[in-house]
Symmetry: C3
Subunit: 345 residues, 3 copies
Amino acid sequence: MSASFPGEGAFFQRRGPFSLADVKQAIGLPRDHGAEEAVEYEGVAPLHTATKRHISFLDNRRYLPLLKETHAGAIVVSRAFADSVPSDTVPLVCESPYLAWSRVARLFHPIVPSRSVRHPSAIIGQNVEIGENVEIGPFVTIGDGARIGDGCVIAGHVAIGAAVEIGAGCRIGSHVTVSHAILGERVVLYPGVRIGQDGFGFAVGPDGFETVPQLGRVLLGDGVEIGANSTIDRGSMKDTVIGGGSRIDNLVQIGHNVTLGRCCIVVAQAGISGSTELEDFVTVAAQAGLIGHIHIGEKARVGAQCGVMSDVEAGADVIGSPAMPFREFFRNVATLRKLSRKKPS
Amino acid sequence: MSASFPGEGAFFQRRGPFSLADVKQAIGLPRDHGAEEAVEYEGVAPLHTATKRHISFLDNRRYLPLLKETHAGAIVVSRAFADSVPSDTVPLVCESPYLAWSRVARLFHPIVPSRSVRHPSAIIGQNVEIGENVEIGPFVTIGDGARIGDGCVIAGHVAIGAAVEIGAGCRIGSHVTVSHAILGERVVLYPGVRIGQDGFGFAVGPDGFETVPQLGRVLLGDGVEIGANSTIDRGSMKDTVIGGGSRIDNLVQIGHNVTLGRCCIVVAQAGISGSTELEDFVTVAAQAGLIGHIHIGEKARVGAQCGVMSDVEAGADVIGSPAMPFREFFRNVATLRKLSRKKPS
Amino acid sequence: MSASFPGEGAFFQRRGPFSLADVKQAIGLPRDHGAEEAVEYEGVAPLHTATKRHISFLDNRRYLPLLKETHAGAIVVSRAFADSVPSDTVPLVCESPYLAWSRVARLFHPIVPSRSVRHPSAIIGQNVEIGENVEIGPFVTIGDGARIGDGCVIAGHVAIGAAVEIGAGCRIGSHVTVSHAILGERVVLYPGVRIGQDGFGFAVGPDGFETVPQLGRVLLGDGVEIGANSTIDRGSMKDTVIGGGSRIDNLVQIGHNVTLGRCCIVVAQAGISGSTELEDFVTVAAQAGLIGHIHIGEKARVGAQCGVMSDVEAGADVIGSPAMPFREFFRNVATLRKLSRKKPS
């Protein structure tokens, strides 16, 4: 358990070293062709452990004190923090430092391309179409008629149901189950994700609940990522749809017939009940819950632990349970605190 | 990803066509033996995509505008909406339209009966009793002395522990683990469910926490269904019991020694702490949490995100954290809003 | 489904009988060498079902009425309840009755030691080091260069990634995935736990979100236990660290770079966002959520469903969303109730 730099050691593959010129190119900064640009770096590291052979990063004011003491060789920062960079450290000033940082890290740690490997223990059904350079791990099962696009990586213990379609470049983590679903390209499913099982639908019959057939599918757009152990039920009469580019964190529940637009964000342990619709660029923070059959407008932001019981307008910021505008919520908190101190008679 | 009707395509098996007479019989409507009853239908579809060859459904007032424009051949509705059914559409007026609808859908999409199939990769322990027409998928493990009733379907990658008993007609989804448990008949476990692991029990010892042996079981009654990735811990000194007919959604946590009565409903991401007891027909909405060692009376309803810290009477409706009657909760919300606007000094 | 005593039947191994002398020794009570100490007991049982051949337990005042009617042969109680023990029952009065009880139960139900067994279906990578008496179940996969310490039990369907290190005496439950992680000794992972996957990190790029490489690890200290289907993301630039002895319940989410000190408790469905730090002995109750980048002091207690948006001082008790001191929270509840009744104009 020896101390190490991030991305080092047996867990990670690393490329490099790369010169400052390479780094600038990766993040789109102008070159000046000075001697400095020939200096080579070995990797990335946080402010407090970085050496002159590392590139570091700051975008959270909270960590500003660490910046002043860093020994990093170069650092990606926004203009606001540039003046605080020590004189021995090369500032790499960017408009979007987190994005630039991400690309520097990716330069040293590129995604490992898939290989054409099929573990002999995998069980592949009939009429399955498998593209080129597809990696299929041990104990995988793929049902009849499924289609797996080029360059996919299917980790061990994955169960892909009959007729499922998976686009090119997808990465399916260990122990995932996918059924009744069509995945676009570059979809990433983390371990334990459950896609396409029956939604929670039943009617009250004379002898107890009767399960309502769930006849829709799950459609995941290009570039969608779903976090570990999250669950996405298939539609009942229409499809459950996650729009392209959306990012869903761990332990999230998406009910049947839910629609997410493009580039939505749903943070850990949030839940979206059946038939609710989110337009593009909606953010749902951790542990928030949305009831069913409501509509959330474009770019709306739902706060952590928020309980949303009715439609939310485009661009609105809501929090609280029941949900209300941010400002109103915090005003309520202040009001109640004040009134409690007065000990109302 | 071509548009399709629900239940069509490669993901679903479909029977039919069925005549209106068949449909009426399935839902218990009286026959009139008119020419109309000979018309055949191909399947079910939502209001906005249904053609004259489909049967559709409405029970949510929110979607009433769609009813007036539907091209469905027939539609299951309650009496309240019957007058809004277009003249070209046959109204199938039912007292319980959702139940009737469920049965129509089931007519076209019956549950596929289990076959007697054991995948050669499955690992079956010693003295395991397996009934007739049991389907056992790839990479399944079944421990010594387990008993699997007639007509069960055990999907791939399932792990059934030693001595577990599973009644007839159960369906165990992919990647489920079951140990220390006795399941009644027709139990359905969705993918990733965890049944029977140790509860969260430990005592404070001189050198840290010491795990308390968990010596109870999990008992699931007939017809219980448990949603994807939900977790049900076995009892510590008594059993954890889920009463017959109860429906548990995805990502729900049930602690050790919890007892649910018959036909309880627990919606996604709710959690019930150790030793709490729910009587029959209790509903716990999404993301609600119940502390341990409390008692929830028959037919009580616990609202979404509710935090229940004490007993709830039979028939009560509670919401909020801490829980309070629905009416009180919404009165509090209104009071606080009013006070905040007044800017109390 | 016949009635049974806890720990009996096919699901459990049991030792015994043990004499009262043995029991006293197990829990550190002084011997008096009376005839009573030769009486033998068969096992443990709850108050209402225990017979004279069982040892029972009470520490929750709620169950005091059961004590007066118990037929248990002996009972572990605190001094406060000793006078209520029936005359036919031997009182075993302890300062820490729950701990003592745990040890009595462990006497009858010791942890089964691991055997040296490797199921032939397991797939072990290259250069894997496996200690003595390691038990490896069916369909396990272990990546290249992993190290498994002496006495570990790896249940079926587990996936251990390349280079993962697992200390001696760990127990890894079914269907667990572990990657990019170093586990101390005696770590217990319950079924479906996900350790070491990418954290939820992405930057906004010109064409949508871009995943930020996650270059840290997960470090689990000695004696850590993680409940079923919980998820612990690996660090982005530093490690995610769970301190020795900490206990994490089911369906808990731990974000990247989070640090827990020693002997923390995190109850079911709670979530801790990225880079937040908990010192030693912090308790986070069920369904609580902590935002990222905050600091929780030693022995602080975060209540159920609490939403923590800022640092919490050592020893503080907070609850509510947003979090506030317990006392303030309940005063607020009382204030609001009072004001609502007055129907403010």
